[in-house]
Symmetry: C2
Amino acid sequence: MSIPLVLGYLGPPGTFSEQAAREFQSSYAIDALKALPSIPHVLLEVDKQEIGLGLVPVENSIEGTVNVTLDMLANEVNLFIQGELVLDIRHCLLTLEGDKKKIRFIYSHPQALAQCRRFLLDNFPNASCIPTESTAQAALLVKQSAGGLAALGSLVAAQEYGLAVRNSDASDFPGNKTRFLIVGKKSFSYKKPEKSSLCLAVNENIPGVLHQILGEFAKEQIDLTKIESRPTKKELGNYLFFLDCRADLLGEDKNVLERLKKICRFVKVLGCYGTGLLKEEAELGYREK
Amino acid sequence: MSIPLVLGYLGPPGTFSEQAAREFQSSYAIDALKALPSIPHVLLEVDKQEIGLGLVPVENSIEGTVNVTLDMLANEVNLFIQGELVLDIRHCLLTLEGDKKKIRFIYSHPQALAQCRRFLLDNFPNASCIPTESTAQAALLVKQSAGGLAALGSLVAAQEYGLAVRNSDASDFPGNKTRFLIVGKKSFSYKKPEKSSLCLAVNENIPGVLHQILGEFAKEQIDLTKIESRPTKKELGNYLFFLDCRADLLGEDKNVLERLKKICRFVKVLGCYGTGLLKEEAELGYREK
């Protein structure tokens, strides 16, 4: 008897998260996708083991980090990153078919509005931008309206909700991509994880301690692919650091992790994972913590 | 003949930005405040010298960096930070006076919604959160409604729009503070600037280069108060770094700046400034670049 493996994502259908979830599903033994209303919902359902896996956006090439994802992985759930997936993002400007009214309101997810900020300012200087929970929800609002509205969303959302594509590439910068993480309760067993993600906190106000931390990576010639700071939420000027590196901190590079634990007051490994899809590794199962 | 000195801020009246602007005005020779509809409007008007100074939020103790502020200072305007100001933030839940309807929608700026996320989830699990351009705009929407709505906003906004304070402290974490920057076209002449802010970019994929950069600060015992990465918007995994440090990089610590210029492909000093109000320094005027 096996329990069906369900992957939760930020819905409703038509979001970029759904596109990423479908790409991931086709290369892995996912039985069903479940649309959830927000990123916290996805992470909390996986944490409570109501669903087996969750897919959440973590970073966009234009707008940067998705703060709520990092904050929850650090503080509110105990999950492991099991893989990552990078999706090309193309924001389209969607309206009702044949809508001749002046566009007064433009709906979308705050990240999408930010990624098309200049396009909107140049083309619709007098329209108000209204943030929504997702790009697909924005498309749905346009669908339910009497016109005079537009949404920034995917081509898939245009099809899903039967909207006209007024502009098929509204991003301010070419090469717009979003990186998604696949998370579960356990650490997936890769033959050779290519990347590790961790978050750490240092004792306050020790000058040079971040330099010392980075030195531990430099010493072993480990490439850092990302460093990001987020507030600890306790005091202004007090940060958690999130690092991604090309190493296996729970495997062959665990000596680096040990040394970091001596320097930092808090270290949490968020996952050691491969950067491709899981197809070839899917039979390996999970590794012991 | 002197031109009146106008300070622009994120309006409408009743925002936390307005509170910060009033604190700053009272200690400096500002002739008038001007409410503007967004952070980009504030920075662009100062850049085009339509107003003399601008005040913009840059960082909150719970929700972290205000991305649009950093991105615009790095890429879209040429301004100098002339000072900073930290304001205590207390979000109140505001409704119409005597409103007995069930609250179905809660309006506020995305940062405020994020700072009160748990409060809202615990107390209004079925209400939808609708982001607005500012906390004061959210209060205005409640004022214009027929009830059943709430806004997260300041006590000043409650007074400004005649709303009832349903809860006087809805933040998820105590000690909520926002740091604001005061920016102008020129570098203000402090007797002794306490802080410098700069942004820099490194040649791609050089392992250890960030360690080398931090080493230049460590060598001189200069305390870094903040490090933040933002995407260059050109490619995923390609970042600009924003550093705040306790030094005067255009004055007595300019040797550090010279060495950074040799390591980095792009260095921009965003300002060297004091951390208090400008009262005592106001007569010093501007320094040569």
